[in-house]
């Protein structure tokens, strides 16, 4: 049985549609990322799964429970953990007190010392929460999410505001959780975060899922056209190149093609035979960010690219 299944989920606030006919499945042990711009419906979806928000239509099952069922809400919450966007820890408790208090809510919690070690706050165990730095508070927040030893974790933009090393630390923590079999649903608007953590990604835009798949295959990026770029050789007119360029950005030329082997062969043969230089030669498929921007309808200002015909 899937850990989470969502079928035809819809939710409106008055005249505004927040989520429209969203369906997806998350299998046990999987890391599933909901990717989308602000206001796309990520948080609404995740809050419906948490049982924090009611839904208008659709079938939702989380760990076998209907999250809208108030009578079973306590059982569901004993088996899930949540890390919210906002910091939310009592300022006057010590780190250890905050963790011990929340551990007491769960039937089968992790030990407080284990959590302190996982989040790297052993040295701060007796410090007041309000004396922690922003990053340390976020780590404590993460600790409060895992202290109940959950089967399912909801991470709502877990690393927003982290510095790069704190983000790596949080990623390592998430990976260690998934190695222990925890299923993770995370929302993020960082592409690298989805790419680093998620087994599967769904891109949500304006309340609907516009693409779903592994980070490697999302939006056809594994089969689509590649981009070949290099610095234009000096003393060669663009029209004298063996292959037509798609565009020129300053001294950088770009060829977009789905037959990159043939194009590269023609290009490199020409360079070797004619003694031309092809500095900074790269071959790239579209990045996850390119795919994401395309899927969420971002239009680059066309004036920045000089199109060569």
């Amino acid at each position: 049985m899937s850990t989470v299944s969502v079928e035809h989920l819809s939710k409106s606030y008055g005249a505004t549609t927040a989520v429209e006919d969203v369906s997806f499945v998350v299998e046990s042990g999987e890391v599933f990322a909901l990717l989308g711009p602000n206001g796309a419906g990520k948080t609404t979806t995740i809050e419906i799964l948490e049982g924090f928000r009611s839904r208008d239509r659709g079938d939702v099952k989380v760990l076998g429970f209907d999250p809208g069922d108030r009578l079973r809400a306590r059982e569901l919450r004993e088996r899930m953990g949540v890390v919210l966007q906002e910091l939310a820890v009592e300022p006057f408790l010590s780190v250890r007190q905050a963790l011990a208090r929340n551990a007491g809510y769960y039937p089968n919690p992790r030990s407080v010392d284990e959590v302190l070690q996982l989040i790297g706050l052993e040295q701060k165990a007796s410090a007041k929460v309000k004396s922690l730095s922003g990053g340390q508070q976020r780590r404590l927040d993460l600790g409060l999410g895992i202290v109940g030893n959950p089967e399912l974790m909801f991470l709502d933009e877990p690393t927003t505001g982290f510095d790069p090393s704190a983000r790596r630390g949080a990623w390592d923590l998430v990976r260690s959780l998934t190695r222990g079999g925890t299923t993770v649903i995370l929302t993020t608007h960082y592409m690298d975060e989805a790419e680093a953590l998620a087994d599967r990604v769904a891109v949500i835009n304006a309340g609907t899922i516009v693409a779903e798949g592994t980070p490697e295959s999302l939006g056809g990026r594994d089969v689509g056209e590649a981009s070949i770029r290099f610095v234009l050789p000096t003393g060669v007119a663009v029209s004298d190149m063996p292959v037509a360029l798609t565009s020129v950005h300053g001294e950088l030329g770009e060829i977009r093609t789905d037959r990159e082997i043939e194009v590269l062969a023609a290009l490199t043969t020409w360079a070797l035979e004619g003694g031309h230089e092809l500095r900074s030669l790269t071959v790239e498929r579209s990045t996850l960010e390119d795919v994401y921007l395309r899927l969420t309808g971002y239009q680059a200002a066309s004036a920045t690219e000089a199109v060569v015909t």
Binding site: Y13, G14, T16, A18, G39, E47, E50, F52, R53, S54, R70, L71, R72, R74, E75, R77, E78, V82, L84, E86, L87, A88, V89, E90, P91, F92, L93, Q97, R101, N102, G104, Y105, Y106, K128, L144, G148
Partner: protein
């Protein structure tokens, strides 16, 4: 059978322990926050010392020549209950809501009823400490005659704590944000205290008393005063009834308006996060 057996919203002894633990953490949060502790406990003690000292041996013609020291003893015990259950609770609930602490609790397995039981238990403990302190200071410092009817004294305290806890919770639901909480609650509280004659007793038949009688604050003061007035039975049935009605009304407001999620950040209906308390 198995389906119903699996649903266990309430779990006997384990849940009592859960509430006990939650009360302990409510207490830690209260005492370690210097502002809440000083404003709540310190004010009732300091106010009572000042007014008892100024009262001397004078009597109030507005209270059929009852000694003022007796009036202030009952009055500031009433003040202590109200500042704990109304003032302190309403402000701290707004702060907890706007900081996201209530949302986090909502997403934990702690049942809603256990949270409110702990909030009430916390109020009872803080009130009990104040009552003992105020009685001792009054007795030792100013020769206040202790209540002649302890049963009526305790019943008035219990009704007061429960009613004003409900009113405090309801008050928190009508305050939009953290910045407004302190000023709004204090203004409402101190105007009602003044109207109700806490600082200086007002005549029962006066216009001021008529207005104040609509609100629960004056009834709380009168209910706490009755056991300190040796010429009366000590019971203040009408006052308790009116407080109880206010308490029930407050519960209705609270259950309709209660929100777990911060309200201040929500401009549009899109991010409105409200869930009925008893839904």
């Amino acid at each position: 059978m198995s389906a119903t057996a699996a649903i266990r919203p309430i779990r006997g002894v384990d849940d009592l322990r859960l509430v006990g633990r939650q009360i302990r953490y409510e207490q830690i949060s209260f005492w370690l926050n210097p502002i809440s502790a000083i404003f709540t406990i310190g004010f009732s003690v300091v106010f009572m010392i000042l007014l008892e000292a100024s009262a001397g041996s004078s009597r109030s013609s507005n209270l059929a020549n009852l000694k003022l020291i007796q009036y202030y003893a009952g009055g500031f015990i009433a003040y202590g209950v109200m500042s704990t259950c109304f003032n302190q609770l309403a402000i701290s609930l707004v702060v907890r809501r706007e900081m996201g602490l209530l949302k986090r609790l909502r997403l934990s397995p702690l049942p809603t009823w256990a949270l409110f039981a702990a909030i009430l238990g916390n109020a009872v403990i803080i009130t009990a400490i104040q009552v003992v302190a105020l009685l001792l200071i009054g007795r030792i410092g100013y020769h206040v005659v202790l209540p002649h009817n302890w049963a009526a004294f305790v019943v008035a305290l219990v009704v007061g704590v429960v009613a004003f806890t409900a009113i405090g919770i309801a008050m928190s639901t009508v305050i939009p944000n953290q910045e407004a909480a302190g000023p709004l609650v204090s203004i409402v509280f101190f105007i009602l205290l003044f109207l109700s004659g806490l600082w200086y007793p007002i005549a029962a038949k006066s216009g001021l008393a008529q207005i104040a009688s609509v609100f629960p604050v004056r009834h709380m003061i009168l209910a706490m005063l009755a056991p300190f007035d040796p010429r009366k039975s000590g019971w203040a049935g009408n006052d308790l009834l009116i407080m109880a009605i206010w308490g029930v009304g407050a519960l209705l407001v609270a259950s309709r308006r209660w929100a777990w999620a911060p309200r201040a950040a929500q401009g549009s209906g899109l991010t409105r996060r409200r869930l009925g308390l008893f839904r």
